[in-house]
Structures are given as structure tokens and as C-alpha cells.
């Protein structure tokens, strides 16, 4: 990771980021650049500080002690592991939450995630996968320069997850936000990302540029090689 001095060519710049809970450094000097439109997947064991890093970028850690330099775009969207839809608001109202006069854009966004016609449904009436697609629409209707996703498919079944991978890839190609996807699924990281980074004990310990052709398949020999290097970095020996 060469330090990038020009702000115009980076969407995210993190320098010497430290975050502490009770004197334990959960992030211990993280350095990270993400280029505009770049899709970065962040892997790590549980407790490695993945979510802490994402929350720092999202500005959701004002009550956490720490230091460091953090540059993020003005327009950041977050997708959580749970869809986090307001159960008392209809689907379209959830998508355009906090936006004024954006109903048409909201409808378009819902159509993009394949939910045209469900605008007036209640979130409870949707399946888990559909709810997560609404959450994606809610993020993308804001045309974010940075999309932060915290294990967004972690609660979905395997088949739905595969479909969501295809959808997310498509949406990111169309909207070109910089993406930081936190996941513990190595295959998911390789399938989706331009670059995979590994966080361990609060430090970035490995990085893999993924140059495999899309669509990527685990059957690809290149895939297997990347996979085994990443698993190594995660301390999993097969």
C-alpha cells in the first residue's frame, strides 16, 4: 500500500488509526487507502477489529477512545448485517428515509434491486433476502461515494447469498462507489472484491489484489491459490 498523497485519487485514507476499548487496542495503527470505485473486502477472525474499523469509517464510534487520521467522503452509506428497516415504515419510505422529494428515485432503486411493485409492502412481509435488498436500495439511492457493508449477507441462506453477490457486483459496477465489505467468508471476499485485506489483532497483515476474470468461480485454479494464501493469513491451516 503506497501512501497516496493526492486526496483526489483516494476515497478513503486511514493513517495510524488506533481505537481502544478498556485500554485494549482493538485497532492498533491501521493504514488503509481505498481508491474511488474500488471494491475492498476486509477479512478477519471474530474480534480482529473488522467491525471497529468499519464503524470508525462510518463515524459511529464517537464514544470510543482513539487517535489517528481519517479521511472519508462526505457521502457515506452503511449496510448492516441486519437490514435495519424501520418496521413501521413501508418499503419505499424506508428507502427514501431522510430524503426529500426522492420518491421517484426510491422507486428506481427498488426496481434496480428487483423489488419493483413492493413499494407499499411492510418490511415484515418480505423475506430476509428481500429485506436486505431494500437495505441496499436505501444505501444506493443516496449515490454514496463510499459504501460500507458490515457482513451484509451473514444472516442469509447460501442460495440467497449467491444471488446477492451477483446483485451487489452489478450495482457496484453501475454506481461505482468505493466499497469496504467486511466479511468472514473468504470465498465471498474473492468473488466480489478488487482487493482483499486481512486484519489481525488490530493490524492489517495481508493484502491480495484479485485479478481473476469475472464471473469468478471457486473452480478456477487461481481462485484456489488466492484462497489458500488468505486462509494462511487468517491462521487457518488446511
Amino acid at each position: 500500500m503506497a501512501p497516496n498523497t493526492s486526496l483526489l485519487t483516494v476515497a478513503v485514507q486511514v493513517r495510524d488509526l488506533v481505537r481502544r476499548y478498556d485500554d485494549r487496542a482493538v485497532l492498533d495503527g491501521v493504514e488503509l487507502d481505498i481508491a474511488p470505485g474500488e471494491f475492498v473486502a476486509l477479512l478477519g477472525k471474530s474480534g480482529s477489529g473488522k467491525s471497529t474499523l468499519l464503524r470508525a469509517l462510518a463515524g459511529l464510534d464517537s464514544d470510543v477512545a482513539g487517535s489517528g487520521e481519517l479521511v472519508v467522503p462526505a457521502n457515506v452509506s452503511v449496510v448492516f448485517q441486519d437490514s435495519r428497516l424501520l418496521p413501521w415504515a413501508r418499503v419505499l419510505d424506508n428507502v427514501v428515509l431522510g430524503l426529500r422529494g426522492a420518491d421517484d428515485r426510491g422507486r428506481q432503486s427498488l426496481a434496480e434491486v428487483g423489488l419493483a411493485g413492493r413499494e407499499q409492502a411492510w418490511p415484515n412481509e418480505l423475506s430476509g433476502g428481500e429485506q436486505q435488498r431494500v437495505a441496499l436500495a436505501r444505501s444506493l439511492v443516496r449515490e454514496p461515494e463510499l459504501l460500507l457493508a458490515d457482513e451484509p449477507f451473514g444472516a442469509l441462506d447460501a442460495l440467497t447469498r449467491l444471488k446477492m453477490h451477483v446483485l451487489l457486483r452489478k450495482l457496484c459496477t453501475a454506481h461505482q462507489p468505493a466499497v469496504l465489505l467486511v466479511t468472514h467468508d473468504v470465498d465471498e471476499a474473492i468473488v466480489l472484491a478488487d482487493r482483499v485485506i486481512v486484519l489481525d489483532e488490530g493490524k492489517l497483515v495481508a493484502e491480495e489484489l484479485i485479478s481473476l476474470s469475472t464471473p469468478r468461480s471457486p473452480a478456477d485454479p487461481g481462485f484456489a491459490a488466492v484462497r489458500s494464501r488468505l486462509l494462511d493469513a487468517l491462521g487457518v491451516s488446511l
Binding site: 462510518a58 463515524g59 459511529l60 457515506v76 452509506s77 452503511v78 448492516f80 441486519d82 435495519r84 424501520l86 418496521p87 413501521w88 415504515a89 428515509l97 431522510g98 411492510w122 418490511p123 415484515n124 436505501r138 443516496r142
Partner: protein, 279 residues
């Protein structure tokens, strides 16, 4: 092989497989109009008792006497005018109590200063039964309408405040986080997240409040009152007219049930987004 099989009986079905019909341990199918059986039975016992003279007319009027008494009261307009007076008191007290309870809950639920100033006094008020304040309220406000309405208001205020405040404070912090990430303004946050999130709590408080309003009404109308259902019953006591007392009781019961049904209807309409065990 017959279609009707006894529970626990081993039978040979058409396909030739042997199945065991298990004895059912649940309650089984509900009885049609089951909830009417108890009251009807009570009415039957009452009627038989009155007809045979087993129930003394001076203790409890016969059902038909109650019906004719109600007819007489309606005919001379006493029932309607007393009912209207009572309903007015209850509704004004209820409306004022709801508004004040919600405002106090918002002030105390949405700011730390508000909580510090308001919460403890209201909790103290909660520990004192409204009716115990009556002597003081009579000294302050006299025995007129304002005393009656304030008593009802105080009874309504507490459940509305407690449940709305609790609703506000138990809104999932994940939604607060979401509101931050989508950059909601404070007003939008209140309008889109806080108020709808606290609505189930408020409506639960409303059910308690409505019941409480009728309860307070009964008490304030039976002391120092010249009109209303309670006053009508109180006069009937002096003259030993049990028929009128029963009419009053039936009215209170009907009003209580009716208002609870109205609140539950509002609840169903306002909370259509909820899918609960009951639905």
C-alpha cells in the same frame, strides 16, 4: 377403515399402513359463542331467583324491573342527560390527560434535563392514588366541574406518561444508529423513528388510561355531584331503588367495554405493520 376413528385407536387405513391416532392433549376446538355462556347463565339464575322470590326485590331488582326502569329513565330523559354529562367529563379529562401525558413523556424521554426535572415527580405521583388527592383537590378547586376533570386528568396522565416514556426509551438503539448513518435531522428523527417507535407503548398506556378515566369518574360523581350517572345511582341509593343502581352499573360496564373496544380498534389500525402472535 372408517373415516371416523376414535382417539388412540389403531386402525388400518385404505393404503394398508397402520397409523396411531394420538390422543389430543390441547383444549380442542373453541365453542361457538362460548363467551356468552357465562353471562347468560348468570342472567338465568338471576331471573329464576327473582321469579321465585328467592332474591329479595329490596336487595336486587328483577331483570325485567331493571329493563322497565331503564325504559322509564330514557322516557323522561334523565338517562340521556346524565349519560351525556358523565361522558363529557370523562372525555375532557381523558383528552387533557392524554395531551399532558404525551408532552411530559416527550420532554422527559428526549432530554436528560427533562428527565431529571420531570421523571421523579411523576413517579412520586404514581405512588399516590389519584383518589387520595381528592380532599386536597376539593379544597383547591371546590366541588365543581374543574375538580372532577382534574381528578380524571391526573388518573389518565400517569399511565400515558409511563407507557409512552417507556416506549421512547426502549426504541432499539440500532435504529438510532441507522438514523445517524442516513443523516436524519433531529426533527425527522423524532417524526420518523421516535414517535412511531413509541406508538405501541402509547396505545397500551391509552388502554389503561381509558379504564382509569371511568374509574375516576365513578368516584367523583358519587361525592358532591348534582348530575351524571354516579349522581343518579347515589340518589337511587337514598331511595332504595336498586333498579336504577343496576342500570347505572350496566351503563358503566357498557361504556368501559365500548371504549376499550375503540382503543383496540385504533391499536389494530395504527399498528398494521406489526405481526404478532395474536394476528
Amino acid at each position: 377403515m372408517s373415516a371416523t376413528t376414535l382417539p388412540g385407536l389403531r386402525t388400518r387405513e385404505a393404503g394398508g399402513t397402520t397409523v396411531v391416532r394420538r390422543r389430543r392433549l390441547g383444549l380442542g376446538k373453541p365453542i361457538r359463542f362460548g363467551s356468552a355462556i357465562g353471562p347468560v347463565l348468570l342472567l338465568v339464575v338471576w331471573s329464576i331467583g327473582s321469579a321465585t322470590g328467592w332474591i329479595d326485590q329490596r336487595v336486587l331488582s328483577a331483570p325485567w324491573t331493571v329493563v322497565t326502569t331503564a325504559g322509564d329513565l330514557i322516557a323522561d330523559g334523565r338517562l340521556q342527560s346524565n349519560l351525556w354529562t358523565s361522558a363529557q367529563r370523562a372525555l375532557i379529562g381523558l383528552a387533557l390527560g392524554i395531551v399532558l401525558g404525551v408532552v411530559l413523556a416527550l420532554l422527559s424521554g428526549l432530554s436528560r434535563i427533562g428527565e431529571a426535572v420531570l421523571d421523579a415527580p411523576i413517579q412520586i405521583k404514581r405512588a399516590i392514588p389519584s383518589l387520595a388527592l381528592l380532599p386536597l383537590l376539593i379544597l383547591w378547586l371546590g366541588i365543581g366541574e374543574s375538580m372532577k376533570i382534574v381528578t380524571i386528568l391526573l388518573g389518565v396522565l400517569v399511565p400515558i406518561y409511563i407507557h409512552t416514556h417507556n416506549g421512547l426509551r426502549t426504541i432499539d438503539s440500532r435504529y438510532v444508529e441507522l438514523a445517524q448513518t442516513v443523516g436524519l435531522s433531529r426533527w425527522d428523527f423524532i417524526r420518523r423513528v421516535v414517535l412511531p417507535g413509541a406508538l405501541p407503548g402509547f396505545l397500551l398506556g391509552l388502554r389503561f388510561a381509558v379504564t382509569g378515566a371511568w374509574l375516576s369518574l365513578v368516584v367523583v360523581e358519587q361525592i358532591n355531584s348534582t348530575s351524571g350517572i354516579g349522581n343518579m345511582m347515589e340518589l337511587a341509593r337514598t331511595y332504595g331503588q336498586t333498579g336504577i343502581i343496576i342500570v347505572g352499573l350496566v351503563l358503566y360496564g357498557a361504556l368501559g367495554l365500548l371504549s376499550d373496544a375503540v382503543v383496540r380498534l385504533i391499536q389494530r389500525r395504527a399498528l398494521t405493520w406489526r405481526r404478532t402472535l395474536a394476528s
